[in-house]
């Protein structure tokens, strides 16, 4: 049998490897030339003597995207600084930033955190004290920051992160549908009233849901609005002895109210609904009321996203036993202690959270795009007052009435309105939210869900008893 010689003349196979290998080599060499010696393509175009690179970990929301678009303006006026961004979805960003900062990672010079992390991380010594920087920067005016927000981002009287964006919660409703049905939304509605309205407006035939509420598991998903409902019904997560209160009568009443409201007059698929789903439903005209963040206005008042622009009214978060119940949440920028470019980082941060930045956004992107809920002066800009007229006052009121230090009817050992400001909350809050979500889906009863939740919460509460917290 003819050996090797015959093989080389086999059609196709022998020739293809050559062409294929050449192609592959080319494919390898070209990027290799560019990248060998670099850590990655993101580093291209940077550096040079005297240029500092500041790396920012940021959460990808619309306002942050605007900021990234406007960064060339910053780089123009600060030629020695080069900006790099890592933009991720909220959960990914939070996980990544926490892992990095907690283990002393050095990838980031600026991290976007919130009023949940700031006091805790400041107490751990993970963040740079920003008060000296803020005080030493002319025109920065840290006193201009909304008071409740400034409080929330401080530790021992010093600012440890600066707010870029702040929100509270309120109730959005379809003015036209209310008018048609002959209903009037009071200036300070209660949850009982809201349920009443939902019952009257809900119409399964035409596919109109009375109300849209979050139900997706997650400590920042369903737990955010639910915690505010619990607070205003007189419940809480813990009492002063760190006994978990999740199946106390008040909390049980609150959770039953929320779950039943969703089951009776809520949107389809509530157990996996979050902001996006409700925004779509409301924007398409399939929902009469929506209780969620004050930032709903960005989805509802944007013609490219919503069909009900101009038909939406806004009232404060519904209450029952308390005066106010809106939550408080800010996205803020902080500098990890391990950063090697603190001054450059501050220059960027102060630019991005300054009064001038607001005017820049207004001119370049439109006045409706201003990041809300950070500075009092923003709300005094005439162009903004005009562009944001439908929701300006309700938003400002909500921000000014959200007291993170005293969230509940009765005193509690923790701070935080829609969360409990302890490190364990991400985990226990999510576990509890999974139980609640199962109840919303009808897979379990509220009583059972709360019984399980109580166990989780008590395990955590026990570790705080006796501790000097």
């Amino acid at each position: 049998m003819a050996p090797a010689r015959k093989l080389i003349t086999q059609p196709g196979w022998a020739r293809k490897p050559r062409r294929w290998h050449a192609f592959l080599t080319a494919l390898l060499v070209l990027p290799a030339l560019a990248l060998t010696g670099c850590a990655g393509a993101g580093a291209l175009g940077g550096g040079g003597a005297g240029v500092q690179t500041v790396t920012v970990a940021i959460v990808s929301n619309a306002q942050m995207k605007d900021a990234i678009d406007l960064v060339p303006e910053f780089e123009k006026t600060h030629p020695g600084i080069r900006m790099r961004f890592v933009s991720l979805s909220e959960n990914q960003a939070r996980a990544k930033i926490t892992a990095s900062v907690a283990t002393g990672g050095t990838e980031f010079d600026v991290v976007m955190i919130s009023n949940y992390e700031t006091p805790q991380w400041a107490s751990f010594g993970w963040l740079t004290d920003l008060q000296p920087y803020a005080d030493a920067t002319p025109g920065y005016d840290p006193q201009d920051i909304l008071p409740k927000v400034r409080e929330a981002l401080s530790y021992q009287g010093h600012l440890y992160s600066v707010p870029f964006y702040g929100e509270s919660s309120f109730l959005a409703y379809r003015k036209d549908l209310f008018e048609q049905a002959g209903l009037t939304m009071p200036a300070h509605p209660t949850w009982t009233q809201v349920r009443d309205f939902a019952a009257k407006l809900d119409n399964k035939q035409t596919g109109l849901a009375g109300i849209c509420l979050r139900g997706l598991p997650g400590w920042g998903e369903v737990m955010a609005p639910l915690d505010t409902v619990i607070n205003t019904f007189g419940g809480s997560w813990y009492n002063m002895n760190w006994d978990a209160q999740l199946n106390s009568p008040e909390t049980t009443q609150a959770v039953e109210f929320y779950v039943n409201l969703l089951r009776d007059y809520g949107e389809p698929g509530p157990a996996v609904s979050s902001f996006g789903e409700c925004a779509t439903l409301f924007g398409q005209g399939n929902v009469a009321m929506w209780y969620d963040a004050t930032s709903v206005v960005f989805a509802l008042e944007d013609p490219s996203q919503s069909k009900v622009v101009g038909k939406v009214g806004y009232v404060p978060a519904p209450v029952e036993k308390t005066q106010h119940s809106g939550w408080l949440y800010t996205w803020s920028l902080a500098i990890p202690k391990t950063s090697e470019h603190k001054d450059a980082a501050w220059q960027f941060m102060s630019w991005m959270t300054s009064k001038d930045y607001m005017h820049l956004v207004g001119k370049e992107k439109g006045w409706a795009h201003l990041p809300p809920g950070s500075r009092t002066s923003t709300y005094e800009i005439p162009e903004y007052r005009q562009a944001a007229a439908p929701y300006l006052q309700p938003t400002l009121d909500a921000m000014n009435n959200a007291d993170q230090e005293h969230p509940t009817l009765n005193p509690v050992p923790y701070t935080g309105i829609q969360f409990v400001s302890i490190p364990e909350f991400q985990d226990v809050g999510t576990r509890v939210s999974q139980q609640i979500s199962a109840a919303i889906a009808g897979h379990s009863s509220v009583a059972d869900a709360l019984k399980e939740s109580q166990k989780y919460a008590q395990t955590v509460g026990d570790t705080y008893k006796g501790a000097a917290k």
Partner: protein
């Protein structure tokens, strides 16, 4: 010339090959050398993390409670076994993996059979069928959640609504099924390709001989095709299982493990412990437990079921 393993040969250890050169020591080493780079590389890159993971699993370390790190020996492991949720999650993982693998193999078989015959545009159809495997899993999962399975806007409900079944909330009511659908959609092309290759490498003369002998189509399929395909199906099951035990993206994007933990699998559960609870010791211990369990199951499964490992094969 080798014989294929269909012949019931006595089990032979795949080791000794006296006819290939001297069985000397030098030859033994020259056989091993090509293997060494891959072996050494894999060993270093994978075992180092494994050892580090075990090291951390013996500590109690919560990232967001600084100063809490201390050695606790095996207590993390004890906690894993007393965690009632862990058991449920393990069950979910088994159901999901077995279901997804079997369904995608079955579907892949059907599709491969369909593609095995010539018809106009076969290449185009084959291309269409492969595409799901090429899309990034994160995007594909989101596609399923929003475009297909959404109760109000989803296409599945839209298509079913003329039949009156158009308001099902798939993701809340049937979470594990919904996740399985998304996974099967992406992995069926992979199985299909493997099996198609098997079908198309059937020796034509054997098939003709059987047909000439008067065997029915079904008979041919059963007696000739299936045995030949067994290898490919086995390879598909092995590879599919190894990957699907670790499936993560679909659960993360579609259901977040909910409602409750109805659709949480082991990787997702571990992820939550590591990145929500930031309990590195606990999640590391869970990972090690999963690795050990998988290894045990795999050892038995591979030896009992697959010829590759029962030593019944030889190289050409």
């Amino acid at each position: 010339m080798t014989t294929t393993i269909e012949a019931a040969t006595a089990p032979k250890r795949a080791a000794k090959r006296p006819e290939h050169g001297p069985g000397s020591r030098a030859d033994g080493w020259s056989r091993r050398i090509p293997l060494l780079p891959a072996l050494v590389f894999t060993f270093i890159v994978t075992q180092l993390p494994f050892v580090v993971t075990i090291y951390y699993s013996l500590q109690s370390w919560n990232l967001v409670r600084p100063g809490s790190r201390h050695f606790v020996g095996l207590s993390n492991y004890a906690q894993v076994f007393t965690d009632s949720q862990f058991r449920q999650v393990m069950l979910n993982t088994v159901v999901l993996t077995v279901g997804a693998v079997l369904i995608s193999v079955a579907l892949g078989l059907l599709l491969a059979l369909m593609l095995n015959r010539a018809f106009p545009g076969r290449g185009v159809v084959r291309t269409m069928l492969i595409t799901p495997f090429l899309i990034t899993p994160v995007a594909a999962a989101l596609l399923w959640k929003t475009t297909l399975l959404d109760p109000t806007y989803g296409l599945v409900n839209f298509v079913l609504s003329p039949f009156g079944a158009g308001k099902t909330d798939w993701i809340s009511s049937f979470p594990l099924t919904a996740v399985m659908m998304a996974i099967v959609w992406q992995w069926t092309p992979f199985m299909m390709l493997l099996i198609l290759a098997g079908l198309q490498s059937q020796p034509a003369d054997v098939l003709e001989a059987a047909a000439v002998d008067g065997a029915s189509t079904l008979g041919i399929f059963r007696e000739v095709t299936i045995p030949h395909l067994r290898r490919f199906i086995e390879l598909g099951i092995v590879l599919g299982t190894i990957y699907l035990i670790n499936v993560f993206d679909q659960i993360y994007m579609m259901t977040q493990g909910g409602p409750g933990i109805a659709s949480a699998n082991l990787p997702f559960y571990i992820y939550q412990r590591a990145f929500l609870g930031f309990d590195i010791g606990q999640s590391a211990a869970m990972g090690v437990v999963v690795a050990i369990l998988t290894t045990i199951v795999a050892t038995f499964a591979l030896r009992l079921i697959f010829r590759t490992f029962s030593g019944k094969e030889e190289a050409a």
